[in-house]
Symmetry: C2
Subunit: 329 residues, 2 copies
C-alpha cells in the first residue's frame, strides 16, 4: 500500500521534494500546504509540471488540507528554527499525522528549545505521531554518518568532522547566503547578530554527543569569513579580491577527555571538496567522501527516504538515532 504524504512549504526545496516524491512508487502525494495566495488553490501538477499531480491541491493550512484528505506523513520544508516550526507542527501532530522536516533545529530540538521539544514530544506520544528533523547537513554528513561509523568502535576518544563545499557549483541563494562579496567586517557583525553561519551545526554536534552518551559542556562556536585570494567569478556573481567568498564555521565541545569538533567550510572555488570523519578511537576510523555530498540534490532525498523509517518508529519527537538506518528506496 502506498504511503500518503503531503508537502508543507512550496519554496524551491519543497517543490524539489514533491518532484522526487513523485518518482517513488511507494508514495502517493495527496496535497500541498503553503501560505502564498499565488499557490493556494492551484494543483501540485501546475506548480511542478508533473501531470499525475493534477488532483493534489495546495491548501492554505494543514487544517484545510485535513478537511479533504489525511496523509500518513507530512514533508515539512518551511523554516529553520523551532519557535517558527512548532505552531506549524502542532496541528499536524494533533491529527496523529507524522512529519519529516528539514527544519535544522529539529535535528536536535532539545538543544535550543528544550521546553518546546518536551511539549511536542508529549503531544506526539498522546496522538501517536512521529516527528523527525533530518537532511544532509544537518542530518547526515556531519552527524548521522559519524554516529554510524562509531558503531564498529570499541571506544571513541574524539571525533573530528569536516565538510568542505565548493559553493561555486551551487545555486545563487547559497552563494549569497555564505556572504559572497561582503566586507569581512560586515560578515562578522552579522554572525554576532545570529544572521550569518550555518544553521544546524551545533545541533549536529549535540546529536553526535547524545548518541555517544557524552555530557558536553559549552559549545564553542566560531564563524569567520573566507577571503577571496583573487577575483572570483561564478555563473552568478563576482567577488573582488579581499572580500568574503564564503564561511568557515566551527563548533567544538568537550566531555571530560572526549572532544568533538565540527568544521564546515563553504566557499567559492573551494579546494578538495569533501566530507570527512576522523574517529580517534579503537579501532580508529578515517573516512572521506571524496567530492562531498551535493547538498541541494541530497537534502530532498534524505527527507523522502526517511518517510518509511519514521512511520516504523515509536511515536514521539524522534532523533536520527531513534529510527532505522536511512537508505534509498
Amino acid at each position: 500500500m502506498k504511503i500518503k504524504v503531503a508537502q508543507f512549504g512550496l519554496g524551491p526545496i519543497g517543490i524539489e521534494t514533491v518532484k522526487l516524491a513523485a518518482t517513488k512508487p511507494w508514495l502517493e502525494i495527496v496535497g500541498g500546504i503553503d501560505i502564498d495566495p499565488q499557490k493556494v488553490g492551484k494543483s501540485l501538477g501546475e506548480l511542478t509540471g508533473i501531470k499525475s499531480l493534477s488532483k493534489a491541491k495546495v491548501y492554505s493550512s494543514f487544517g484545510e488540507l485535513l478537511k479533504k484528505t489525511k496523509p500518513a506523513c507530512v514533508l515539512h520544508t518551511s523554516v529553520s528554527r523551532m519557535p517558527q516550526a512548532a505552531p506549524q507542527l502542532e496541528p499536524i501532530i494533533k491529527a496523529g499525522v507524522s512529519v519529516v522536516s528539514s527544519c535544522e533545529e529539529l535535528l536536535f530540538p532539545q538543544l535550543r528549545a528544550p521546553a518546546i521539544a518536551k511539549k511536542l514530544d508529549a503531544l506526539c506520544k498522546k496522538h501517536k505521531s512521529r516527528v523527525l528533523g533530518t537532511g544532509v547537513n544537518p542530518g547526515f554528513v556531519m552527524d548521522t554518518l559519524a554516529i554510524c561509523l562509531t558503531g564498529v568502535c570499541r571506544s571513541v576518544e574524539s571525533i573530528e568532522i569536516e565538510r568542505v563545499v565548493d559553493a561555486s557549483l551551487r545555486r545563487l541563494p547559497l552563494q549569497k547566503k555564505i556572504g559572497s562579496g561582503m566586507q569581512p567586517a560586515e560578515f562578522r557583525r552579522l554572525f554576532r547578530e545570529g544572521k550569518m553561519g550555518h544553521v544546524g551545526l551545533v545541533e549536529s554536534l549535540a546529536l553526535v554527543a547524545h548518541a555517544l552518551g557524552w555530557k558536553i559542556g559549552k559549545i564553542n562556536e566560531t564563524c569567520e569569513p573566507m577571503i577571496a585570494p583573487q577575483k572570483i567569478k561564478t555563473q552568478f556573481l563576482e567577488v573582488p579580491k579581499g572580500l568574503t567568498c564564503g564561511i568557515h564555521h566551527r563548533a567544538e565541545a568537550s566531555a571530560g577527555k572526549h572532544k568533538l569538533t565540527l568544521d564546515l567550510k563553504m566557499y567559492l572555488d573551494a579546494k578538495d571538496p569533501r566530507d570527512a570523519v576522523k574517529i580517534i578511537g579503537d579501532p580508529p576510523i578515517d573516512a572521506v567522501l571524496r567530492g562531498g555530498v551535493h547538498g541541494d540534490r541530497a537534502t530532498v532525498a534524505a527527507l523522502v527516504n526517511a518517510v518509511p523509517n519514521v512511520l516504523r518508529a515509536q511515536p514521539g519527537l524522534l532523533l536520527m538515532t531513534d529510527v532505522p538506518i536511512p537508505h534509498a528506496g
Copy 2:
C-alpha cells in the same frame, strides 16, 4: 538499569566480546555458555582475568544458565552457518531472550536458509525475542555502511563495494584461513567444495539489495587465490613466491539496470588497505575508509554496540535495516 547479557561461545572472539562488554557500564554480564568441559563450571573471571566477573559462571547450555539467571540478551559467537546456529538459538528465543550474533549467515538468513529463517522469525514473534546477525564483515563495511550512504541518494543505479585487508597485520588463524602458503590448485579445489572464501559475502550483497528493494537474479561468485609475487614473511609464517598469500573473493548480481558488486581482497602485504563504497547514483557517493576497519577489534564492538538497539526493535528475526543506526556507547 543495566542490561543483563550472557556470552554464548567462549572461543577467542567470545572472550574478546566478554572483555569489551565488561568495560561498558550499561551492561551486566551474568554468565557464559560453552560446550568445552574445560570451561564449564569455571567463572568468566577465571577465563578473562577480569575480577568483577568472578560470579559469572560458565554453563554447558543456555538451558542450564537459565536455571540460575535470565539475561535480556545473549551475545552469540559460535558458528557461521544457519543449520548449526538454529538449534542453539531456538531455546534462547523460546525463553523470550534476545540475541546478537556473529553468525555470518544470520546477517541475511533468508538467502541460504529461508525455511529456518521463517521458522525462527515466527518463534521470535511468538516469544517476543529479537535476533540480529551483525559484525564488521558481514555486518558493516560491505553492507550497512553502503546502505546508510544511499540514504542521501535520490536514486541509485549501481554500487561497487571494495574491501582490501592487509592480512600481515592480523592474527595467525586469519592468515591460515585465507590459504597462506597453499598451492593455488588446492585453494581453488577447496573453494569449489565450499571450504575456502569469506563466509558472509553473498549475505552482505543480499542485504544491500533487500534494503534498496532490488530483486536480484543469481549471485555470481568467484574466489581466486592471491599469489605471492616474492617470498613473504609475517610474524607467524612464510610464503614462498608463487604460492597462495590470500583470497580475492567477488560477488556480483544484477536487478534490471541495477548492478551490485562486492570485491574483497584479504592477503599478506596488501597494498593500500581500505574499505570503499562507490555509489553510481544521484548524487554519486565516493566513500573511502582509509586503512580500512580492523576486523578483529571491530567485530566484537559491533556486537556489543548492537545490544541496546536490538532490544528497542520489534520482536522478530531482524536485519540491520530493522534496527536504529549503530553507534558506540
